[in-house]
Every structure is written in C-alpha cells, then in structure tokens.
Assembly symmetry: D2
Homo-oligomer: 365 residues x 4
C-alpha cells in the first residue's frame, strides 16, 4: 500500500506540505446518504490547529476545509470524497539559516538521505501540517461510526513529564470532560499541574513529552481479522504513522511484562443486568483478543516525544557535514500532547471505519 | 490489504491453522538469483518450534518446510515463491472439554463473535502455529537483506517479569550471544535468573510476561516513506500482528514521556573515523527520524503477555453464557519470550525487505 | 497489487509452475458457513485438464485438489482458505533441445529478458498449468455467488477459425448445453464442424484460434464502481491475465465502431410481466453501463490465439542469438478453446465474487 | 484496490465530478528530480478538452491545472504529488428535465441502482470530466518514461464508422502526424472522409463509433509480471476503465481467431544492423509475450461506442419506471474518438510508468 494511503475499504489518500498551497485528502469507500458539511470537520480541526491556547504554539493556521466532491445536496454520494484545506498564510520567509542545516530530531537529514533533496521551508511533507486532512477525513469516519454502530472515539492527555492523570474509568470520559481544560486532561487537578509544567518549560525554552490515551466505546465484538489484519496491528500502524510517536500500547501494555498469567487473564463473565452480552470482569486486554474486538472498550496509549524544535541553540551539522548549531525561530509547542489528542482520535476512528466496512463485506452486517 | 497478506513489494500471504494438514506461505517480489534451499529456513524454524528446551512447551512440532515454487536449480527465479510446512502430528484428540468453553486470554470468544463459529481444536487460525511460515518467509528476507546491503536482524529477551537484562550496546549483540542460553538473553547472569524464574512459574502452573528487543544493523539512511509509509508504522503493524504483543516501542520509547526536548534530541555529528557518514551521538531516536531510517541501528521492543493457557482452573463462560471453569491440558510455554525472539526478528526482516525494494523502485538503488 | 494476487476482498494469491511439486492458491475474504469440499472443484478442474478428449492435448494431468485450511467440519470458517494441487507426474525428461532455444509465441524470451533466467522445463510460471488453482478457487466463488444471489456463470466456444456458432440467446445457455459436445459449443451443428476442423489441423501439425463467450446471469443492478473500479475494467484485467488472450470485448464490442448512437443505445423499458424491474429492450451494452451492472446478462468475449507450440519446425533463435529451428515434442492442444472455457468462467466468477463483497461493504446488502 | 486508485507503485488516486468545484489527482511514487510545471500538462489537456474543434462538442472547459504539492523549486520532490483542476464554469442550470429520467447508454440508471441516488446534473462521478486529471497525471508519467527509458506513447484514430485508416507502420507515427488534422488520424486522406462523416452525423443529430490505436515505443524487453501482473492485463484494466470503451485488443487482436499457429507465431530473429537485440520478424504479438514486453512496439486498440447523448428524442423511463422520452440539450461530441486519443495515451503511459518502477524494484534497473 503506497505511503500516502491508509485503509483498505474506508481509505484515505493525502497530499500536501508545510508551505504549499494546500493539503488535500481523497476518501474512498464512504457509504452514500451520510449528511455531511464542512461544519462536521471544523470542531476537530480547531482542536488540532496551532495557536488555539497559551500552551500551544502561537502560530495561527485557520483550517477552512472545502469539500471538492462526493457530497451532493448535503449528503454523501458514495463516490470519491475530496477535501481541500488551502493554506492561508504563504508569506515568503528567509530560510537561509535552516536551508543547509539538519534540525535535530526532525526528518531533515533522513529526507535528504532518501530523496537527495528536501523542502527546507518547514519540513515539507514531514511537517505535522499534513495531519490536518487526516483529522478532516476522520470527521467523516466518526460520523459514520456513530450512525451505524454508536461508536465513539475520545482521546485525552494521560501523562506529561512525570505527571500522570488519574482516569479510573477511561470509557466514561466524554469530549466535554476532555475539552474542559486547555491541556485536554480529564483529571482537573493534574491538568492544572500539567499546564504549569508546560508553561515553565516554555519559559526555559525547552519542551516536554507525554502520553495520550485514546478510547473507543461501542465497538461490537468481532471487528478485526486474524494474523496481519488484527485490529491491534492496524492501530499500531495508524498511531505510529503520527509524528513524534515512539511507543504504542493497549490494555495493560508494557505492564504485562511483570504480570503472571493468573493475574493478567481477564475472566469472561455471563451476561448480566449491566451488560447484556458475555463480557470480561476486567479489561487488561484493552478490548481486543487475538486482535479482534471483544466488545469491551478499546483503550490505546501513545508515547509522544518532546517537541524537537527548541528556541535554544542545539549542536548539529550542515549538509556538508560541518559541525554547527541551530536554534529554532518562530513559535513552537512546548508540549505536543494537547494538539496530539485529535490526531490520535482521528487515526483510531479511521481504523475502526475501515474494519466496520471490512466486517460488513465478509459478514454482511 | 487483506488480512492474510503483509508487505507491498516483498509481500507474504499465508494460510494454515493449528490442526490442519499444513501451513503455507506465498512470497511475491523476491528478486531472482538468490541461492535458496530449505536449509536456509531450518535454523530459525528450530528456534521458533515448541519443545526445543526445558523452559518451552514440551510439545514437539518438527517443522520441515518444502519449497513448492519459485526456486530452480538452487536459485530464486523471481516468480511466486511458495513454502509448505506440513503438519506431522494430526492425531485425533478429545475436544469435548474446550469445544463449548472460551479460554480466557485467547481468541475463542472473539472468533465466535466474528464468524459465528470457530475451530475449537486449538485456536484454528488464531493459533501461534501460523507464525512458522512467517519465520520461513523471513529467512528469505534475511538472506536478501544480507546480500544486498549487509543488513542483520538480531533479537533477544530484554526482560522477564522484573528481571531486566543489561545490554549496553544492542547493535553489538550477535546471534551467537543470543543462542548462548535457552532463554535467549545475551546478559548471561540475568539469563540464569530468568530461567530460574520461568521454571519456578512452571512449577506453580503459572506463566510470566516479558519484553523482547529486536535490533537491525546496516540499514542505510533513507528507507521508509513519509506519512503512512513510515518505517515505524510498518514495524508497528508488523510486531502488533504477532500473538501476545500488547506494546511496541522504539528508541527511547515510552521513556520519552518524561524527557525534555533538550535531553531527548540526538545531536548530529560530522563524519569521523569510526563512522564515515553523518550520524548521531546517541540513539534515542532508535534509528528512525520522520519514520525514515537514519543509518543508526534500528532498536525496537515488544511487550509480550504471559501465556494465557494455564494448567490451573480459571473462571470463564460457556458459549451459552453459563459460568464455568477451564484448565488447559497439554503442555504450554510458561514464558513466551524465548520462542518469540525469532518471530520478532522475522517481522522486522519482512518490513525491511519490503522497504528495501520500495526504495529501489523509487530511487533506483 | 502484486502480480500473484487478484481481487480486493475476495482475493486469490497463487504460486506454482509447470514442473514443480504443486500449485497452491490462498483465498482471502470467503464468508463463513459455505459448505465446501474438494468435490465442488473437481467438475471444473476436469473441464480444464489436459487429456480430457480427443481434440485436446493427450497429456494427462489428474488434478486432485487438497484443502489445506479454511474449512472446518465441512464449512468455510471465514479464515484464509488454501488449496494445493500436487503434481502427480514429475518424471525427469530431457530438456537439452529447448534449454537454449526460445519457443516462438511463448514467454521463454521475455522471461529471460526480465529475470536473466528461466525454468526451461515447460514455461515455469508462464505455463498455463497455473490456471488449475484459479479454477479451483473460482469453484468457491461460483458457489458463493449462487448461494447469495443466484448468479450463474457459463462460458462456451463461440468461434473456431471461420466457424461462428449461432447462439441467439446467450443468457439461456446452460452448462449441460455446453458440455453436450467436446468442443463446448452450444450450437450442435457448428460444434461438429469445429471438431472436424480441429482434427484436420492436428493432422496438419498445426493449430487454430477462436473466440470464447462468457455469460453471467443473475447479477443484480449496481455492482461495480465508478472510474477504475468499473466492472468492465476488472473483467478486462481478469480475462487478459489468461494465457493466449489477445482481445476482450463485451456487448456489441468492436461492433460499436460502425454503429450510430441512435442504433447502439439500448432503450430503457418499464417493468413488465417478464422482468419486474426496469430493464433494456436490447443488450448491446452487455449488462454494464458506466462500468456498473444494469441487471441485464453480462456478456463477454475473448479472442484466443492458436496454440504456439507446434509439432512442425519453426524458425527461432538461441539464447546466444544464433538462428535455429524448433519443433515441439510431446502433445499439445490443436485448439485452446475447449479448455479455455472453464478458465474464462473462473476469472469472470472471481471478479463478480469480489464485487459482490465490495458492494456489501459499501451498501450493506 | 479501491475504485479511485490505479497503479501499484506509480499510483494515481482521483476525485471529482462533472459539476463540482474541481477535480483532483494524487500521484504516489514519482521519483524525485524530474523537472515539472503545469506547462507539461497543458498540451495533453488541450487535446482532451471539449470545444477544441468543429467536430468536438462546442462546450468550452479550459482546464488549468494547479500543482498543490510534490514539486519544489521546479522539480519533483519524491513525495505525494497533487494536481487540482478547478472548474471554471459552475453556472446553475435547470435540471428538472433530466432529474428523474435515465439517459440511455449513460450510467444514470446504474448509479441509482447502486447508491440509491445520483448527481443528476451531468453524470456526477460517471462523467468523462474525471479523465482530465488522468491526463494531467499521465503527463508526469510520460515525462518520467521519456527521461528514464526513451519510451514514447502515441495514439491516433484508426477507424470511424466504416472508414479504416491505413497506418502501415504504427510505431513510426509521431505526435505531429496525429495532430496534423482535427480527427487525429495520421492517414490524411481517410482523415478527411472521417471529418465529413462526423459532420454529416452531427447534422443528422446522431453520433458514430470508432477505434483508437495506441502505440508505445522504446519499452525494453522484460516489463510486466507473470499471471495477474501481465502488462496486457493492466492495459486491459486501464483502457476498459475509460468511458465508452467496449473492446480492447493488442497485436493481431480478434484477428487471431481465424489464424493458424503456423501463421500467427512471430519468428524470433538474430540481432542485426537495424535491431541490435533479438527481435521478431513480425509483430502480431503486439509487443507482449506471456504478458511481458518483448522489446517490439506495443500496439493496442480500443473500440469506442458512439456518443450516447443525442439531440433527438430517445425512448427511456423515469425513476418511477414510467415510459418517457429524452433528448439531450446542450452540445455533445458527434464522435468521441478525437478526444479519446489523449485519454487512451494517458492510461497506457500510466501502466508503463507503474511497471517501470515495478521492474526497478525487483531487478534494480
């Protein structure tokens, strides 16, 4: 599958760069008859965009999507659906400083090694700007999942530096809980400390990493396929495809390393009043067994590195190999996590939309 | 991409179950002219098979591969390469005990929820037996990678329970180091304690989880593609497609959550005597930046859960929903990690073989 | 899509050569619960195999399929379904005569140009022997199509040399009509003359081309997708993937070149007693409009070249470039058409099975 | 492969409709370093557009492409390349006449049967307008093929109604020969009669079919893959994906039906002065043997039906099933062939660009 596409049936293909005229996504496989307008996308795009709060970058990129095709008289037609997000701000800048230097932690060096060239104006295709159309496409996926199965996908910030949120029931967190504060952490007390930490690091011209948790509820038991089509495998690909992600886990995650089988197995339980279907007493399996959904909430976590761009001098090399230093100009996020949340949700929703259609193809339901 | 295939150009498609007549893999994209015989596969198949040591399951499954096509006069032809591993032992057994019960931690329930039926004789398609043909196919990938680029893929056990191996230089670990003990941990002192722990848990009719580390050396800078074709995304899908994996990370992994940008960024360094190309001083980026290889060693880790099958009674339910208990009969691994190592290596090699050809397609080298 | 796979959802992947130990096919996407045994495949395999009648080659290749996976207790499981057809006859032969010569009309030269080598024992991967597993896989497709939608796929010989069969109503031809004579032509009088012609050409150590017609009935209106997913496009790929096919057409086919729009357009008709849905009065559109099925019978034709292998000396060159002659030893079909019929049916059935699932994925029906 | 994508490595994904804000194509796999601007596309877009001459439709659609991404400082970057062709003319029209009627020969009925809705303003996604971005993308393919291998793709009109052009040497026809007259037929005398015929039919408010021939020269021996990856199979899919194509053939095509093997086989010839490589004396195989290029010119033909839209009343039905008549308003092509030529060339170039990269992936050249 070429590198600009994701999904087998509900499939997105994207293009666009940090400093080009716009970003575009083509979505295949959308069923007809879903009411859709740009308003369905603006909420998540607003959550993703730079400049939304004091703890994100102060760059302002209003993302105004335009639907180019696939919607007629307010409903999806079933044919190729394209969304364009034109860039508003294309002022020429002076790139002489970064043109020949490799920014540490960025893809400048690896793009050059691969292609023998790079768009030095801000990362080109490696810039996180490309995620805006993922988020727009995922808005369509979210709407379809909600309508067909009542599936909801909600993400939040679980950890920033050493501060770990207390979220006793991941499946109970709502979008409102998440949006109650600018760091997008549903544990209000920890959220406040996270904001303080991030502001302190901004003051120190530094950045900090963290962990996001993404939860999908309402997924029926039976989605996913054996072997390479496991839901967890597609979530793995999906979340690792996001910039800055160095780790992905679900359920008990890396915690399983220290567990015994007798501690880790989630016992099955008969249907009861609260849950009319067979379910498990605990959810260390994160909603997937054998890579197929169990009907329990799907709980995923991503480790997100601290922003690589820093407004302090860092040692690096030039294209020629000569040692030098570089300090990022312009405004950057001191912590990627708050803006990562809608991106993580987007990728989880896209995987689920794809498997929703794959399940229907094989099972007719 | 259908669930039984993996890879875009170097692509495998598999079939087979725990108790069927055999497992088969078809490999697309193998370049012609690679010397190949079943002997190239038997080493890794032996490392994967049950019954190989006192700390793995005592079931014996001699895996004797047969090349059905794609090799002529001892060399690959460039056409569809098929490998069959027939099952030796297909004695009828009594499955009445497990026929209607869902084993905790297994895919019995989710397969039933998906397909409305399941092969109750041992997991069917969800059984780890399917990984034998992945390992056989990866032997072809490893050979191609070694011949074309000198790439080597070596895995080992990094952690079992609370015991964490000390492996100061992952890229220096050799296959011989790994195979020096039956737990496949290159830190001899920790290996001994791991073996003791595993034997103790077997005695307690329990099991234990752990972490495997897979390292690829010799990968040139420039493999991988932006956005969804990131190397890390394909490693994510690859490793999560293996049974029992609940977490995947690379480089600093989940450790990035507590790092500052100024601590996490790996500074680029000019070429020097030891490394004739631009490189980084440290390797917290695990050999990938922007999802594209940097030329530094690729270092991945997988969290592997404790074996779900336990020879002690566990609470569960029947198909009907009625509560019951189940205890696994037959022999099982008290720790999956030693046998996981060749599986993890296999998936890493398959991803690299695919991107080796993808790079050649676009860049001609 | 790699060259050994066909189909997006109902997808086959094949391997195997003319003289290897066997041919194998893996089928993805088969819905669970379809009764299946090797008996479902033997009918069409028998129609395809060499040596079945006096006008086909006298080589004998009994094709006995073995189901390796994907069927449990007599029904499909929904997981990867593999079928192996082992080769019965692998006697060593003397290939010194053809080892260094390129047979005219065969792929000997082009394989060598591509791969720098070839399996000179009979065409290797280019041999029509690979079609046996396509026919086996299509037996599963045919069964699924019949059960889910009452779709039937029937092919027959329409033309041999200058002899053109009179088939006034393609959609009314049954398998019994086709199998009533050894040339598989439902027009009995022309069939007799075709057989005479073929036998005469065998006597002359020559061969003759022809045209096969494949008809699918019962396909509901609405299968296929716009643009590149057009049904006609997938039929085109499917039928051209068969050996010896130099032309494919549907409906009026190449005849449209001399038609006016006022003559060619099939007028739509209101539902009436015979046909309870909107339909067309004529079927020059061959059952597809805009590449999507109209509910009318799908009618396709393939031009099949005369057998290239001839038992008379033909001028050619050696690998070295030196001029020489070659005469085929062994027995060959003087006309490929009778054995082509089940292959053509197979590819049409595989396309329809795929679009059946694709339609269900997007439309839920 | 979803219906809006074409190609495995050099892969295009398209969106857009007859009356939407624009059409867009995303191209994957373009090697970096190819000089590219919109000027490379305008030539073929001009050949495709309506209103270019007196024998094509008089509608005017100036197609001005915009490169959205994948080009930096005048050269391709190697990353996702997107081209947008905005629609200039989106005046509201009165569609009440065709809103509920199915145009004969169009996809109105089949789209409705599939999706339960359709864009009635002019065919929506089924409109030939979508081919403009195919032509734009193919301009990139043509440029790459020319630079890497000297491959040229030239098409022309071979037949209109009963008038068949005399083109003794297809591989010698140049773009200038083709563009020498408005019907795009390199046989000047026949071209004149074709133009007369088309003008007469326009006068009769009717239309006429024909045949286009597409020739690719310079393709090295060895492109294409066995079985489903045959070049001829991909050409089949490519050309049948174009609107109005009811037949595709190559080399001797349907003519093989009446040939004997001794007449049809093209004898191989030793290298000689004119051709320094092994070649064939004749080219009835149309440049492909076993689906792999032989180094001889690739010669393909498409049967194109007469325009379905006619300015005379034709019987049809309404959505409700009620009988009615419909006459097309607005201007339409009385013969599709002249404008089909660049579309046919485009699809042939896209197939070759894909196999160029596939060959490089496997063979490294």
């Amino acid at each position: 599958m070429p590198g600009n596409s994701f999904g087998q049936l509900f499939r997105i293909t994207t293009a666009g760069e940090s400093h080009g005229p716009g970003n575009v996504v083509i979505i295949d496989g959308v069923p007809p008859g879903i009411e859709l307008s740009v308003d369905d996308m603006t909420g998540d795009l607003e959550r993703r965009r730079p400049g939304q709060s004091k703890i994100t970058t102060q760059r302002s990129e209003a993302d105004r999507p335009e639907i180019l095709s696939g919607v007629f008289e307010g409903e999806t037609t079933g044919t190729s659906l394209a969304i364009l997000i034109a860039s508003r701000d294309q002022r020429p800048r002076d790139y002489s400083e970064i043109r020949d230097k490799y920014r540490p932690g960025h893809a400048d060096f690896t793009f050059d090694a691969k292609y023998g060239r790079r768009d030095y104006r801000g990362g080109g295709r490696s810039s996180a700007r490309e995620t805006n159309v993922r988020v727009a496409a995922a808005a369509v996926a979210k709407k379809m999942l909600r309508q067909l199965h009542g599936v909801e996908v909600v993400g939040y910030v679980k950890q920033v530096g050493d501060l770990v949120a207390d979220v006793p029931e991941p499946a109970a967190v709502t979008l409102d809980d998440v949006e109650a504060n600018i760091v997008r952490c549903p544990d209000a007390a920890t959220a406040e400390r996270m904001i303080e930490l991030i502001e302190r690091l901004r003051g120190e011209r530094d950045s900090i990493g963290g962990v996001a948790e993404i939860v999908a509820t309402g997924v029926p038991a039976g989605w996913g396929e054996p072997v390479f089509g496991k839901l967890k495998a597609d979530f793995g690909r999906a979340l690792f495809s996001l910039p800055a992600v160095l780790g992905v886990e679900y359920g008990a995650g890396f915690g399983v390393a220290t567990l015994k089988g007798s501690e880790n197995n989630d016992p099955f339980q008969p249907p009861d009043e609260g849950q009319p279907r067979i379910h498990t007493a605990s959810n260390r399996h994160g909603g997937m067994l054998g890579g197929i959904s169990s009907g329990m909430p799907i709980v995923l976590r991503c480790a997100v590195k601290p922003t690589s761009s820093l407004p302090q001098p860092q040692p690096t090399v030039k294209r020629s190999g000569e040692a030098t230093t570089i300090a990022t100009k312009g405004r950057h996020d001191p912590c990627l996590l708050p803006r990562f949340v809608p991106m993580g949700e987007a990728m989880v929703a896209l995987v689920l939309a794809d498997h929703c259609l794959r399940q229907r193809a094989q099972m007719g339901e």
